[in-house]
């Protein structure tokens, strides 16, 4: 397929995944804060600051706003057009990319993303948000899930679809690592212990932010501990948002595109991805905590960025550009 088209499929998919993940992060953290026994502004602010840090949006936020209030953060991450990571921006970008590849994707996919874009643009989204932010985020996530389903059900599972998979799993692995990292940025309220109530509530919020609560409970017999949650979100081989699962899918899509056997590599993207994949296959959560979870997640994000760059260089860029 055309290099430009591959690039657009890749980014279309990244933006969809990013919007979905941001919607879920806002939903969960808003609910988490409502559960705080202590609603003192400094505590609430500290929490939202941690969320902004995970989304790498803090600097811009500080430029645009005076202080951190829950409403202002929701507004900023959801609707602020000046924010390049805002949900409306991601959806608009996804749609713009879809528009350039309309003849490659199915009409159903196009109409699905276009409807979501119009929903956010014409005031209906805003009205739902004003009624109930939680319902609004759920509705949005549903629409984006519908896009994923439509994609799988209506598009040829050829190169274009594989580039969509690349974008989806790269962004998703990145997003899971960030959500997990929230826990590093949130401090426990004073007097709370690791493993205490507040700690467990926070880990549960992390799981919910990855739609992983129910799946986790099926594998861990009711106990929520930081160790096990991290193991689940980093290393579980069947949970579709774990970093390992995503990297495995990434590797598999890369090899479908190149027709190269798995376990071998034919380009830099495959080499980097294969290295990451095997390190995730053969590590333990004990080793991860030994490095330090935050450091490990930081490194993982860096390696994902390198893979993304290598994909672009291998497939989407030409020397004359």
């Amino acid at each position: 397929m055309l290099s430009r088209v591959a690039d657009s499929c890749f980014w279309l998919s990244r933006y969809i995944e990013r919007a979905e993940s941001n919607a879920r992060i806002l939903d969960v953290n808003m609910q988490l804060i409502l559960d705080f026994e202590d609603q003192a502004p400094p505590l609430v602010q500290r929490h939202w600051r941690a969320v902004l840090a995970t989304l790498e949006d803090q600097e811009l936020y500080n430029e645009l706003s005076q202080e951190i209030t829950p409403d202002a953060v929701l507004e900023f991450v959801t609707f602020e057009k000046k924010n390049p990571h805002a949900i409306v921006t991601s959806i608009a970008n996804a749609r713009e990319n879809a528009r350039t590849v309309r003849e490659q994707i199915s009409s159903e996919m196009w109409e699905q993303i276009n409807r979501t874009h119009l929903y956010l643009r014409d005031g209906r989204g805003r009205a739902d948000f004003n009624d109930s932010p939680i319902d609004f985020y759920r509705r949005l996530v549903d629409q984006l899930h519908a896009f994923q389903g439509t994609t799988d059900a209506t598009m040829l599972h050829g190169d274009g679809w594989d580039f969509i998979q690349l974008g989806k799993y790269l962004e998703r692995a990145d997003s899971t690592s960030r959500v997990l990292d929230i826990k590093y940025h949130i401090l426990l309220p004073s007097g709370e212990q690791v493993g205490g109530n507040a700690d467990i509530t926070q880990w549960m919020a992390v799981l919910r932010s990855c739609s992983g609560m129910e799946a986790y409970l099926k594998t861990s017999v009711g106990q929520v501990t930081g160790w096990q949650v991290a193991e689940f979100l980093v290393l579980h081989d069947e949970f579709p948002r774990s970093i390992r699962f995503c990297v495995d899918q990434l590797d598999s899509a890369l090899h479908r595109i190149s027709d190269c056997d798995r376990g071998h590599f034919s380009n830099e993207a495959e080499r980097l991805c294969g290295t990451l994949r095997s390190s995730l296959d053969y590590t333990t959560i004990g080793a991860v905590f030994q490095t330090g979870l935050h450091q490990f997640l930081d490194q993982t994000q860096l390696r994902l960025i390198q893979i993304a760059d290598a994909i672009t260089q291998t497939y989407c860029q030409w020397k004359d550009e």
Partner: protein, 503 residues
């Protein structure tokens, strides 16, 4: 008449639906009845439904103002335009004849120039045409086809005679609306379709692809065909992408292509892939910065060299714009006689050449009664409608004509036919035209009907989308039999011969 058509005024025009106030033409009877039966607000609701479906599908064009583009839909009028089979047969024959002559003309002026040597058309008219490309003289295009896709604008005069207003032989647009309008009508009026033998239009994309494949270089039996678009910021991007999708081929922008060893390739994830036929929706001027406009960033450097070496074909051919020229238009009836030895089946609109001294004098004395058109503009730009123009505009055109007599033509104001169109509160007569799309490939094929554009502003004669125009679905009937015969139908054999452009 009741319902929507209750207060309909036919006016002093040829009306497509009514032969006289209250008298419906036979082929419109069922539609008129259906409109009459509609409850209050039903059509308005259907209208909202149709608009929403256009918006959701992204069938829009972008209007830029400030930093944010606004997407608009091309207004769609739900009352169809119906053309009886016999009428269409005549139009079709006329268009095939016209396009055959235009293709022969283009071949001739880029080769022997017989028509100039025999002084049928003054040499300087062609050689001074803005879009004449001397670079292509002596160059043979595959299968001798220059205009692969033509959009010829037809109007009906006060007597209902189909008359040619202009030919668009470069990159005519609008065909996607023909196909989408039909889809919308089927959703909104499913039952009416059962009652009318409407000829389908959905073969267009397949016919277009066949025509493009037919002209591949070196008779390549399995050519790679692409659509070349200026990109998503072009107002017709929806159409480019629609056509690529309907043909199942790639849509590319200039940056996706490169030329090596006089061959054109597209940049793919699996390396370079050679391209054989390009359906380009970029004008000559912008297509290759090494040959035409140097500042073009839309084109492909080296493309024209690859074209001249016969390694890639372009549709439409380079240099067809000379046939669009409104001064050339004046001579098309003579071309038909010259190349085909036939009388033109479809007349031209009476036209005055301001390059001719006597005609210029007449034009300058009668500007307030005439329509003046720049020879090389399209889309309703560069036009003066005398009776609606201010003193200032008239003087501006007077100066322009004196300054560049070759650059303009003038025509009497033609009262385009009207068709009932849905307006606030009911149906009112609005002026319409018709743009059929003609494909030249192994054979010449014409989409049944074409795009009926409607000037939605009351009294307006300008149907262009940039100037408040909308469109209607156009139904060509397969068979006139089910519609009761009546003396009110226009009988093609009764169509009068063209008013001679030579007098």
């Amino acid at each position: 008449m009741n319902g929507l058509l209750k207060d309909y005024e036919v006016g002093d025009f040829f009306d497509e639906m009514f032969s006289a106030p209250g008298v419906v033409r036979p082929h419109y009877e069922l539609v008129a009845r259906r409109l009459g039966e509609m409850a209050d607000g039903e059509l308005a609701r259907k209208c909202v439904l149709a608009e929403k479906s256009y918006l959701n599908q992204g069938i829009t064009f972008t209007v830029y103002s400030g930093d944010e583009g606004t997407e608009r839909i091309f207004p769609f009028d739900l009352i169809p335009r119906i053309i009886p089979a016999k009428e269409w047969e005549h139009v079709e024959r006329g268009l095939v004849q016209r396009l055959t002559a235009l293709n022969l003309f283009l071949h001739d002026i880029y080769h022997e120039q017989r028509i100039l040597k025999e002084k049928i058309i003054p040499e300087e008219i062609v050689l001074s045409a803005k879009h004449f490309r001397p670079e292509l003289i002596g160059f043979d295009v595959p299968k001798n086809i220059y205009i692969h896709i033509c959009g010829t604008d037809l109007i009906r005069d006060r007597q209902g005679v189909y008359t040619v207003l202009e030919d668009n032989g470069r990159c005519p647009s609008g065909v996607s609306y023909v196909l989408e309008n039909r889809q919308a009508m089927k959703r909104v009026f499913p039952k009416l379709f059962h009652k009318y033998p409407v000829r389908p239009v959905d073969r267009y994309a397949q016919d277009l692809l066949a025509a493009l494949r037919y002209v591949a270089p070196h008779d390549n039996p399995d050519p790679t065909v692409v659509v070349l678009s200026p990109g998503i910021y072009n107002s017709a991007y929806f159409e480019h992408s629609f056509l690529a999708r309907s043909m199942g081929i790639e849509i590319v922008t200039g940056n996706d292509l490169l030329v090596q060893d006089a061959r054109v390739f597209m940049k793919t994830t699996r390396g370079l892939k050679q391209v054989d036929v390009i359906y380009r929706r970029i004008d000559d001027d912008f297509i290759d910065p090494t040959v035409f406009r140097k500042d073009s960033v839309l084109g492909v450097p080296g493309l024209i060299e690859a074209y001249r070496k016969g390694n890639v074909n372009l549709a439409n051919a380079v240099g067809t714009g000379v046939a669009d020229d409104k001064v050339t238009y004046y001579y098309v009836p003579r071309m038909i006689k010259f190349y085909l030895g036939e009388e033109p089946l479809l007349p031209n609109v009476e036209t005055f050449l301001t390059s001719d001294e006597a005609e210029r004098k007449y034009v300058l004395e009668n500007l307030e009664n005439l329509v003046v058109k720049a020879a090389n503009e399209s889309g309703g730009y560069g036009m003066l409608i005398g009776p609606h123009a201010s003193r200032e505009e008239i003087e501006k055109f007077r100066a322009a004509i004196i300054d560049d007599p070759r650059g303009y033509v003038a025509q009497p104001v033609i009262s385009l036919s009207r068709s009932p169109s849905f307006c606030e509160g009911g149906a009112e007569g609005r002026h319409i035209d018709l743009r059929p799309y003609i494909l030249s490939g192994e054979k010449t094929s014409i989409i049944p009907g074409g795009l009926t554009r409607v000037a939605l502003r009351k009294g307006s004669l300008v149907v262009n989308s940039s100037q408040g125009g909308g469109s209607k679905d156009t139904w060509v009937l397969d068979d006139d039999e089910p519609v009761p015969e009546s003396g009110q139908m226009t009988n093609p054999s009764a169509l009068r011969p063209p008013p001679s452009a030579l007098s």
